[in-house]
Subunit: 230 residues, 2 copies
């Protein structure tokens, strides 16, 4: 797979390099004349137009948001918001529930039928204190998720914290990987949670690691706040 470079790929690589060479513009070379600047940006514009032309395939993507940092779930939510903005339906299945009523679910009501939201379970492991119940809830949520995955009426399915459910041993990773491949050609699926395995990463089209750059003293003692954590 890694060695198969198509003609199309090499055309795209060339365009990417041209774009890089021309640069982003801006005010970084202030002694460049306006005329010269305009000319350069004109060239960049031509490269951009070519780039857009070359990238013509549409594809339902498997997207993984992982890492120890913040933003895994919130980035998925933002994608949901955009997708609804384009008038498509979105389903969110939350596999590990926090101990509070999330701001998301309050905001979700406004979207009516365009957004389906299912919260699995009743809280963290230390809230339920019952493995078997947790496992059953995760499994039944997964069955629900599969029904949305297969349904061509949904453009985006968010499997929130499903990676944590895998890590806790509540559900089999292969079952998830097989399940997400049942989606229609143009459906996108987002999986979130820290600790994605190599195998899951390799099954995905786009993987982002949210990496926390610590500010320990600034974070200490500050409680979970509305909008930020929930």
């Amino acid at each position: 797979m890694k060695n198969k470079i198509t003609k199309e790929d090499s055309r795209l690589n060339k365009l990417d390099k041209s774009a890089e060479r021309i640069g982003m513009g801006g005010n970084l070379i202030p002694n460049m004349t306006e005329e010269k600047y305009k000319e350069r940006m004109q060239k960049r514009k031509e490269v951009q137009t070519q780039r857009l032309k070359e990238r013509k395939k549409e594809k339902g993507l498997i997207i993984v948001n992982t890492g120890q940092g913040k933003g895994k779930t919130t980035a998925a939510l933002g994608m949901g918001l955009r997708t609804i903005g384009h008038n498509h339906n979105v389903a969110i299945i939350q596999f590990i529930k926090g101990g509070w009523e999330p701001g998301e679910s309050l905001a979700f009501k406004i979207f009516g039928d365009k957004l389906k939201f299912h919260a699995c379970g009743e809280g963290f492991t230390w809230e339920t204190q019952d493995r078997n119940r947790d496992i059953n809830l995760v499994k039944s949520s997964w069955r629900k998720a599969v029904s949305y995955i297969k349904d061509p009426n949904y453009k985006l399915i968010i499997l929130d914290e499903i990676i944590v459910a895998i890590k806790l041993g509540y559900i089999d990773e292969d079952e998830i990987i097989n399940g997400i491949n049942l989606r229609p050609e143009l459906t996108h699926i987002v999986l979130t949670g820290r600790g994605a395995s190599e195998k899951l990463i390799n099954s995905a089209d786009l993987v982002t690691e949210m990496k926390l750059i610590h500010h320990p003293f600034r974070e200490q003692g500050i409680k979970a706040q509305e909008g930020i954590e929930y």
Copy 2:
């Protein structure tokens, strides 16, 4: 600053270590009896309750989403969605505009007056091909941003791609850092864009680097898709 460890910090550190020692539970030690499991999760629950009690401060945060990966803007949007869910007002100022009508702005209409959205400029540098106009637009957007920052009616201000505007030399970083410090005590501000400087990172309370784990062959030739890129 780094050496100042308060009593409160050391209590929090102890609790964090206890939580780590007890673990998250789940199905990872399947030969543990149900009774033993319940007991362990009971202990973890006690630690969690203590943790929540210790973390009691509320504070308006400076949040930076940076890095080469995806999710910087979408995570900020998700935070906006949550904040509105809690019935607060949100303002978004977009400093670098994409070449298309974003799905966000379509979705935003549904929130009415709870969400103010301002798109600065008419597109990337290679669309306008005019540095001076770009600079003026960025500066006028910044003035608008400052008026929202100072307004106690807004709980969250998103300065989208402002870090790119700084990097392009369109606006002075110190001006931004001084400006965000004009916020009321409990207002959160999110700054997004790749290439945050050390100085900006040190001014923030919470910094996340969105790191792209590449899948170059899978991404090649795929066009920008609704909900994913715009």
